[in-house]
């Protein structure tokens, strides 16, 4: 195989392998994304900045007291 044929082979193989690697890496990224645990609506609602006060059961009906932790 001459030097020119070798270079041609390297170029063609590099192009095809790079494109294949790109496709496979992209699919791997998508699979990683699919396996990641999703944050549920409940998780989002559970915020460190809101503390909901629950009155003791024996007390008279009370209004809900939501205190916001301000920073």
């Amino acid at each position: 195989m001459s030097v020119i044929d070798l270079l041609i082979t390297i170029i063609v193989v590099t192009i095809l392998v790079t494109i294949a690697l790109g496709v496979m890496s992209y699919l791997a990224y998508k699979l990683r994304l699919a396996r990641r645990p999703r944050q549920t609506e409940e998780d989002r609602a559970e915020s460190r900045y809101f503390v909901i006060h629950e009155p003791p059961p024996e007390s008279a009906p009370a209004t809900e007291d939501t205190s916001v932790a301000e920073t």
């Binding site: 095809l16 790079t18 494109i19 790109g22 496709v23 890496s25 992209y26 699919l27 994304l33």
Partner: protein
Amino acid sequence: MARKIRPVVSIVSTAAVVLATVLFVYWAIHSPLQVQRFLVRLVLISLIIFLAILFVRYFALLWFSYLQHAEKTARGRVESHNLPPVSVVVPAYNEARVLDDAMEALLRLDYPTYEVIIVDDGSIDETVEVARQWEGQHGDVAVRVLTKANGGKATALNAGIAQAQYSFILCMDADSWIEPQTLHVVMPHFEDPSVGAVAGNVKIFNRDNLLTRLQALEYIEGLNMPRRAQGFLGAVNVVPGPVGVFRLEALQEVGGYDADTFAEDADLTLQLITAGWRIIYEDSAITWTQGPTNLIDLIQQRYRWTRGILQAVRKQKWILLRPFPDFPLWLSAVEMAFEGVVWPVLNVYAHLFFAIVALLFGMGELLLYWWILLTLLDLVVALITVSMEEESLSLVPLAVVYRFFFILFLDVTKTFAAVEEALNLGMDWGKLRRIELSQITRAGHR
């Protein structure tokens, strides 16, 4: 953004693109001789057109970036006695590992009057605790910490801007390290009342492996060089997230950052240009940032960038049809759309097409000469841009693998991202892994 993410649809659309390509190849192999001759002629014409587009693009970018460089060199460093106070806004989401380094760099800024506002966007790590340690007065610099429920980077930036007490805002990322002279070299540009924002120069800090070194070259050649060219026209189309200084009046005019794209920086910049503001590039306003260190993280980043930019262009799509009266604006939007979708798709299919047809129809020598020409072009461009940036010349030889491996690899992701954006599929931010500054070795650059 609240779109449902459907990874199955993404995978199916990927498979469809791959299948279409394979079917084309199968058809090409089994087509009649006349069709094959036509394909060969098509390859020749495509090679010439591809080279012509590349040369014109590179020539235009190099010429305008050279004019910007020459203009700045002739002007010399502008010393201004008018250095107005600046508010620095640092949005942070789960940045506990890197926030200390960013803050140390911020407090080393060589500037008379500025304040720092860290905006925690509902982090679930120790970001707030780390930020609180910086809260208070550091000499003349006041550091404040705001916290809010998680709403995305755009809302965090807007929250910080709303609390800013000064008329100029530096927006930066919590994982970036700003150089001390940045504000000093940026603020004189605002003496021109038509300037709405100044884009800084983002460089890759972690150059530990081939991938990060290629990103370092890409930032110089693929991002900063076009910004220089656009800066000469006063129409930089993206003020980068890691370093951008804005006139508060300009931000208020466009309503701050919108939260409906994943490239809020590109979206805001296009809105500013549309509103008539000039956007300048200052190459001495340097900020160092971390590049992804592995292929998957890199794909995650570039996927978001591509879709975000296409979302931003889609919001302003009317600009694409009106080159006048605002030609620089039209040029910026066209370039964004071209670089975001047209060029990556063309690049991938051109390479695939050339490789397959060369294999099947014995045009290997033509492909070799084409590769030699492109590589020489890339080496020359790398040498010029690296020299203009006063960067390490050790990056120049990387130009040999830059196009045929790195750019081609990224363009595959960009192609799929463009398809997914066209199909309006769901997406989210994704969080890149951060490495503390002390763990990164600064290899191969000054």
